[in-house]
Symmetry: C2
Subunit: 634 residues, 2 copies
């Protein structure tokens, strides 16, 4: 067998190994410590190394993004030597940072072949007007429109009263040389956003915002509209959280007294806070922000706009409006140019909103004839099944368990949250990865999935989710909420008590995963295709950012399929809003997607309840659906 | 010669007279007193009687409106007997009232053959929506649009955010049976004004406003949009008068500190006060007023809308915008449905505004190929010359003399104003008609014209406007402002001093009339037609309501033509706004008129100054232009 030389940056001598040796094994020979918290299963991503040169084969790249791979990263536990190679072992902190913060970088890349001058609906042109005289007393607005028409071939639409009020001073102070910023519509009509002296506008920036309003998190991308490039990304918790964790409690709160106005101010506070901070840091004037696209679920959208949301909550669950008109920033209340255009993206139904239509666009589901499943699990779980030909969608009331809420020691995926757990099959001792690498404070959604999967595979849980109290292990005990398992003793943790998972938490999680898996089944049944024939599973949303597919399959949340069919796309909602912002055709496609989707109401679907109850087990009543889990158990 | 019997209501016996006898002579025979302040010249209208039956011939009907004539009125001094007749002599008060207040009644008549269902752009339809269900979860707005499209064949345009906010509650409270009020545009698109429960709308009124904002007076007509009929007319002084009598002083005031906002509030106060009073009296809710058209000169228009007006005043005299977009009532600030449509009519130039384009429409100038002069003399004098084929226009800075301002004892045409004067050629004693039939307080514009004409014809004034101080008459004397003529002694008047006209007042008036007459000349010259060939003179505006043509010709203000060529149209500006309100085609025509008019800037026209100086005499340097005046002098 051929032998090759592998060089490490942190080791003086090359190591000689036979072809096919795993990089972790080569490192071991060199005495180099590479962390493998998941035991070398390619699940945790902590063993990532950088292949500077040479030939290797990556068996799995599950935890790596496309840009990671382009940069040469490989999972040492999943990569074999196929030639001489030079390897850099990054410090553990660098890996940690990549895994938790750099994940959205590739999402923000400019689409291939993008040309702002064709795709962008916002334009700015400088025009020189002939000054008025006693021989030419044309009115200011008429003069502007005539010159604009001559220069651009476009009709200038009626401006707002405020714009008309300001026009005369702008024309005169600029010596009749003005720059007009406008948005072009589908019929080639131009809607004036801003008129300013041309010399002020010459090198001035022209910004747009892609905004995603999640129930939990608000994300804002600031975009240079002249190039289409994302210049800044920012996110923070949706301040509405203080008035309810999920959409239902928000709707109820909005229905009381001044609740709607308060919620509106809260989410505006979140968005505008992000905008203002970004503007301060980049020395940008909010007046230079001239357009925003908004994505988000239907409840978030109507709460932002001050539209009553009650009918979303009450049977038959009707959303006030799917296709909203383009609005003015001043009417919406965003911290940008008051005459700027705010474009709320269209939704499909009360529980399938613009976040999903934008997500479908961003996921590129429609670019392929392959049968594809798109899921976005946040506070709710929305699922789309389809291809370039057709789309069906549904929403599952997963509840907030996957966001760490409704669980005794649950928390959001923030510093101190246990996000992955491995349990030793002999001692039942857990090993945890904690966000921020600090002492744990609680456990987040991905940690819960990981934990339940490990408990199930190690026999701490049975099929029904019951904790095995017969093991005589000190970590299994009776607590305030019945049987529980101690994940971290108080001494190891940030707080003063043990971090545990109780039987009630497990039930919560089982209901959440069963709802989603049942959703897959109902969608597949509705179009008469077996779930196993799905060729791609596209996972959007914050949920997909950290999830361990293998463990999600183990608990029966995701269908049991080869790993390569799963693709993690991060925040597809904001990415879709971004594409709609920089590309008129993308915006049109989101509207088409919204119109093309067939929505299936699960609560009106007889097959749903059956599928749900079948899925309330680990991994499922019908174990034959989960061959890899069956194999792992054996 | 044939003899006929004439019966009077106030006389027991019929009077037998030969054919051709004047009615005043018949009355004299019967011992019936009929007032003739103008000396039987058919100029004052005070001898009006009602012909109940029988045959008479009216030689002149100058002071009578068409509806007066239809009602049988005739001027006793200008009407001859041509058969047996029955005559009613109205009490003097009734005549007075007809002359001063009922003048606008015929203007407000519904156009012949008017059909609201075809002409009216505002419509209201009741539609029954299928309520949503678990099987049909279409969003509220989508459901409304689809049903509306099915029922009317029209596309419902994007509604405002406020309307979307209210929609859900309206749909549900009405059991999905709603009435939609909307305005249809030229492309058959419908702009939603109001959605309300159908049962509330069934018998509800649907009102519109035709508003004319004059520099001096604000006029509001309330119109039933379902029939097109004018239901109420109201007017009051434009409260802006307190900040300047003419447009120039208003513009200057608007440019200082908070001036613009103050002026805006003032005029809104005038308009909204009229609306609110009318609503209270008719038990109408302002929400039922859904559309308004606005006419007025360019300065009044931009001051109402908060648009800076400076450029109107400063050379080269540019108005900010001629063709304004349709606005929402809430943005304008009118006391009507906040989502109601406000349609500011288009103007032509800084000093030829919507009042003139609307006036040209209302005057029906364009319906005839006859060469026609349209004049509207208020604070400024605007003139249009043209026919169905073409239109030229100019504006003369007449100054406010014709509104009684800038004259020592001048006042507006209000109670106590002397509005007509006759001077005895022997004693130089004046006889006055006073508005409201009270002791005089001052003299208004029409009174001034009348006075100067009488003074000229009786020799109190020479051609140059100099007062003849050689007559030895006690009414001619030297006062604070030089030579003056006493119109009313303090004892006869309301105030404590004599009411006089001074030389400076006469100069003022001469400049004003010269500017207007010169305007006629420049317009006629600009298109190469002699002024004498004008076939119709249409007189709009408050000026035209009371003016005595003969006296206006005597002073050289109006061209010397047969009386029958003059037509008094009253407030053509508000009438044009009314027609635009009730008829889409009329609204389109006003836009066409605005585009078709060629504007001639007099201050840039070399011929104007020459024409002006020639016209600074009584009646004119060239007396051959005024043959009837020459005859009267002889």
């Amino acid at each position: 067998m051929a032998e090759y030389e592998v060089r490490f940056d942190c080791h003086p001598e090359p190591i000689r190994v036979p072809a096919g040796t795993l990089l972790v094994e080569v490192a071991q020979q060199a005495g180099i410590e590479i962390q493998q918290p998941c035991g070398g299963q390619g699940r945790c991503g902590r063993c990532a190394v950088k292949v500077e040169s040479g030939q290797v084969r990556r068996r799995s790249v599950l935890r790596l993004s496309k840009s990671d791979i382009d940069a040469g990263y490989a999972l040492a536990c999943q990569t074999v030597v196929e030639g001489d190679a030079s390897i850099v072992v990054p410090p553990p902190e660098a890996i940690q940072r990549r895994l938790t913060t750099d994940h959205i970088a590739p999402e923000a890349a400019l689409p291939e072949g993008y040309d702002a001058s064709h795709a962008q609906s916002v334009r700015r042109v400088a025009i020189q007007l002939t000054p008025p005289s006693m021989d030419d007393q044309t009115d200011d607005w008429g003069r502007l429109c005539a010159t604009f028409r001559r220069e651009t071939g476009l009709e200038l639409l009626n401006a707002s009263l405020d714009q008309i009020r300001q026009l005369g001073a702008t024309l005169r102070s600029s010596d009749w040389h003005v720059a007009l910023t406008f948005d072009t519509g589908p019929k080639g009509e131009a809607r004036l956003i801003r008129a300013q002296p041309a010399d002020q506008a010459a090198d001035a920036p022209l910004w747009g915002l892609a905004i995603d309003i999640g129930t939990t998190t608000v994300t804002v991308w600031m975009v240079d509209l002249l190039t289409g490039q994302v210049m800044r990304q920012a996110g923070e918790y949706n301040r509405q959280i203080a008035r309810g964790e999920d959409v239902i409690s928000r709707i109820i709160y909005a229905g009381k007294g001044n609740g709607a106005a308060e919620l509106r101010e809260m989410v505006l506070g979140s968005i505008n806070g992000l905008i203002q901070t970004a503007c301060e840091r980049t020395q940008l004037a909010t007046d230079d922000i001239v357009k925003a696209t908004i994505s988000g679920n239907s409840t978030m959208m109507v709460l932002l706009l001050g539209i009553p949301a009650d009918s979303i909550r009450l049977e038959p669950f009707i959303t006030p409006i799917n296709h909203l008109p383009r609005l003015s920033a001043i009417d919406v209340g965003l911290a940008m140019n008051p005459a700027g255009i705010v474009d709320p993206l269209p939704g499909v139904a009360s529980y399938v909103g613009a976040d999903i239509t934008a997500g479908v666009l961003a996921s590129e589901l429609r670019t392929s004839p392959e049968l594809t499943l798109f899921i976005d699990v946040g506070t709710n779980g929305e699922i789309v099944l389809g291809s370039s030909e057709w789309l069906v969608t549904c929403a599952c009331s997963a509840g907030p368990a996957f966001e760490g809420a409704g669980v005794v020691h649950g928390m959001r995926a923030d510093t101190g949250a246990i996000e992955e757990v491995w349990i030793d099959g002999g001692s039942y001792e857990p090993a945890c990865r904690v966000i921020g690498n600090v002492a744990p404070r609680g456990i987040c959604g991905s940690g819960l999935i990981s934990l339940v999967a490990e408990m199930f595979l190690t026999g701490l849980l049975d099929k029904g989710g019951n904790i095995n109290e017969t093991l005589g292990n000190p970590r299994v005990r009776r607590g305030d909420y019945g049987p529980e398992y101690v994940i971290a003793w108080a001494a190891e943790s940030e707080g003063e008590e043990d971090i545990v998972i109780a039987r009630v938490d497990i039930d919560n999680l089982l209901r959440a995963k069963a709802a989603i898996y049942a959703g897959f089944n109902v969608l597949a049944d509705s179009v008469g295709v077996p779930l196993e024939t799905v060729e791609r599973v596209l996972i959007g949303g914050s949920f997909g950012k950290y999830i361990n597919v293998e463990k999600a399959v183990h608990i029966g949340l995701l269908p049991d399929m080869p790993w390569e069919r799963f693709h993690f796309l991060g925040n597809t909602s904001v990415k879709g809003a971004y594409l709609a912002l920089i590309d008129s055709a993308a915006r049109d496609e989101i509207a088409e997607i919204a119109s093309a989707m067939t929505y299936i109401e699960l609560s009106a679907d007889n097959t749903f309840y059956e599928a749900f109850t079948s899925a309330l087990f680990l991994p499922h009543t019908d174990i034959s659906r989960f061959p890899s889990v069956k194999a792992a158990m054996a």
